[in-house]
Symmetry: C2
Subunit: 359 residues, 2 copies
C-alpha cells in the first residue's frame, strides 16, 4: 500500500494473523495417480470426448466418483492455454458509473455469465490515449471479442467487435442501434393522441452521434402524421455538460421566441428536467399547460416531479443482444450482420396530459 490520503481513513487496530488454508486443489495428475489411470483418460472422460466412447461405463463411473470425492476442478488457465480460448470478452465503456453504460453492462453480463464467459471492463473516460491503449491491453489479456459501448473504435482489432450505440464506423464491427423512427413515432403518436398539434423539439448537441438520425426520424414521422414542426419550435442543446441546465436554457430561448406549443419532445431525460423547470417558471406548468416527453428513461426519470413520460431505450436488452451476437461471431467466424436494430418503448408517466379543451 502506498500513497493513501491519511485523513480519509482510520485503521482499526484489530490486526490479525490468518492463514488461508483451504486444501490446495487437486491436479489431474494426482487424480490419475490415485485412480491408477493416465491423465489423458481422465481428461477424455471428463470432457465427454468422442474418443472416450470406447471406455466402459464402469471406468467412467470410477472417474466421476473420484472427481466428486476430491472436488476436482480443471485449472482454467491451463485449459485456456492449451485450447487457446479464454472465455473472456472485453467491454469498453466511457465510464462504468454512468447510468447508460451500467445498464448496457448489466445486459451484457446477464448473457455472458449464462454462457460461461466472464468480462473485463475498461473505462476510457473519453481520453483518446486510453481509447487507443485499452483495446490493445485487452487483446494482450487474450479476450475473445470486444463490446464497445458508446465508444469509437478505429482499427480493426483482429477479433470480433460489437458496438453498442457507437459511431458504427468501424469495418468488421456489428452495431446495435436504436430504431429512431420507431422512437419518433411512439412519442409523436402519443402526443397526437392526447390532442397535441403544436409540438416543439429539442435537438441534441451537434457532436452527439444520435442527434442527426433522431432529428431526421422526427421530421419524417411528423410529415407522415401531417404535423408541421416549424423552425421556430426547434431548439438545440449547446455545451457538453450533462446537467439539466442545458435543457433549461434552450427552453427559455424557445419560450422567448414566442412560438406557440402545447408539447415538447426533449433530446433526453436530463434536458427534459431542465425544460420542465423553465416552463414552470414561465407560468406554464407541466403537464397542465405543456406536455413534455423525455428520452432514455434514466433511473431518476421516474423520480422527477412530475415523473417523466419518456422513450425508453432498451439498454439492458441492447447489452444482451450485443453479447449474444458477439458470442455467435466468436463461435463461427464468417458472415455477420452489420447492423441490428432494437425497438424503443414509450413509458407514460405524469409529464404528459391531454391538451385542454380550449387553450
Amino acid at each position: 500500500m502506498r500513497n493513501l490520503p491519511a485523513m480519509a481513513r482510520k485503521k482499526s487496530n484489530a490486526q490479525r494473523k490468518v492463514d488461508f488454508a483451504g486444501a490446495p486443489p487437486v491436479s489431474l495428475k494426482q487424480l490419475a495417480e490415485h485412480l491408477g489411470l493416465s491423465p489423458a483418460t481422465i481428461s477424455l472422460v471428463i470432457n465427454a470426448s468422442p474418443v472416450a466412447d470406447s471406455i466402459p461405463q464402469r471406468t467412467k463411473d470410477r472417474v466421476m466418483a473420484a472427481v466428486k470425492e476430491f472436488n476436482y476442478r480443471p485449472n482454467f488457465t491451463a485449459r485456456s492455454l492449451r485450447q487457446q480460448r479464454s472465455f473472456i470478452i472485453g467491454v469498453l465503456v466511457p465510464e462504468v458509473s454512468e447510468g447508460y453504460a451500467a445498464m448496457v453492462m448489466s445486459g451484457i453480463e446477464n448473457h455472458l455469465l449464462q454462457e460461461g464467459y466472464f468480462y473485463f471492463v475498461a473505462s476510457h473516460r473519453h481520453r483518446p490515449d486510453l481509447i487507443e491503449e485499452y483495446p490493445a491491453l485487452l487483446l494482450r489479456r487474450s479476450v475473445e471479442g470486444i463490446i464497445a459501448v458508446d465508444t469509437p473504435l478505429f482499427r480493426s482489432q483482429g477479433i470480433p467487435v460489437v458496438a453498442v450505440s457507437g459511431r458504427g464506423g468501424e469495418d468488421g464491427a456489428t452495431s446495435i442501434l436504436l430504431d429512431h423512427d420507431k422512437a419518433a413515432q411512439l412519442a409523436l403518436q402519443h402526443l397526437y393522441d392526447l390532442g397535441h398539434r403544436k409540438i416543439a423539439v429539442i435537438k441534441g448537441q451537434a457532436f452527439s452521434s444520435d442527434t442527426e438520425v433522431r432529428w431526421n426520424a422526427i421530421s419524417r414521422q411528423a410529415a407522415l402524421m401531417g404535423i408541421e414542426i416549424p423552425p421556430l419550435l426547434v431548439g438545440q442543446l449547446e455545451g457538453d455538460s450533462s446537467s439539466p441546465e442545458l435543457g433549461y436554457e434552450v427552453t427559455r430561448r424557445l419560450i422567448d421566441r414566442g412560438g406557440q406549443f402545447t408539447a415538447l419532445f426533449a433530446f433526453n431525460d436530463i434536458s427534459a428536467m431542465g425544460a420542465i423547470r423553465a416552463l414552470r417558471e414561465a407560468g406554464r406548468p407541466v403537464p397542465q399547460q405543456v406536455s413534455v416527453v423525455g428520452f432514455d428513461d434514466i433511473q431518476s426519470a421516474a423520480f422527477q416531479n412530475p415523473a417523466l413520460t419518456t422513450i425508453r431505450q432498451p439498454l439492458r436488452k441492447m447489452g444482451e443482444i450485443a453479447a449474444e451476437i458477439l458470442l455467435g461471431r466468436i463461435q463461427s467466424a464468417g458472415l455477420f450482420s452489420k447492423h441490428v436494430t432494437v425497438a424503443p418503448e414509450l413509458i407514460v408517466r405524469e409529464s404528459t396530459a391531454a391538451v385542454r379543451a380550449k387553450a
Copy 2:
C-alpha cells in the same frame, strides 16, 4: 445465436465476409530462433531478472530491439500458468447497474488498471444461490482476491476478501466502512448552524445494515450538540422497494402525528425525494419551511427540484481503497486491518435554508 425475441430487431441485409488477419503474435521461441539465442535468455532479459546481470549490454540491446521490431508480447495465459498468478480479481455486487455499486466499481477499476490488474464482475441480484455460487465460479477462474460490495460472504474463500459496506461479518475479510459519526455530525451541525433545533429523522429499513449504526451515530451526535430528538420525530422506512414512495409515506405519518420540526434528515436521497413531495403537499415547502438533508448523493440528487443537500458517501474512494487494500493483501499475506473507515462529505444544495426569523 438462439432464442432471440424477433420483434425487437431487424437485421440489416448487409452481410459481409471479413477475415480478421492481423499477423498472429510472435512467440518467445520464434524470437529466440531469430536471434540465435535460447528462449530462456530472452525471458531473463525481458523480465530484468537478476540472473541476467551477467548478460552483456550488447546482447540485452539486441534482444530489446528484436522485441520492439516484432512487437513481441508475452502470452499472458502462459505466464499466468507458470507463475500461478492471474492478475485478475473478482468483484461481487448486487447489480452492476445500481448507482451505488457502479460508483464503487469505478473506484475499484481506477486503482486496479493502474496496477496492471483486471477484474471480473458478477451481479447476484440478492439471490442467495448466486451469492453462494459466484465466489466459487470466480475462484475457478483463479482470481487472486475478491471485493464484495454490499454483499454478505459467509465462507472464508481461501483468498483475500475485502468488503465494501457489507455486513462485515466474515472472518478474514477487511471491511471498508463509512464513518457514520462524522456523517451525523456534518448533517446535524449544518442544520444547527442554520438555526434548526427541531429535527426529524427518517431511519432506514430494519433489514438494512446501515440503519442501526447510522441511528446510533445520530443519537450520539445530537446528544453531544444538546439537541433532543423525541420519538415523535423519528420515522422509519418500511418495505423493500427503492422508490421515493417509501419516504413519502413515512413523512406523511410524521406530519400527521403532529410533531413540530423545521428540518428532516432522511436515510437516503430517494426517501428525501419522497419526503419533499409529502411536505410540499402538506403546505410546507422545502426549503422555505422545512429543510431536508438526504444521504448518499446519488446522481439525481443534484437534478431534483429543489436540488438536494445531502451527505455524500465517497463511493469511488471506497472502491479505490478496497482495491488498494486487496492488492496489498495479495502481495503480502499476513497481518491485515479488519476495518478501514472513510469520511463522508456534506454537499450543500438547495433543500436546506436558514430557519425563518419567526416560524
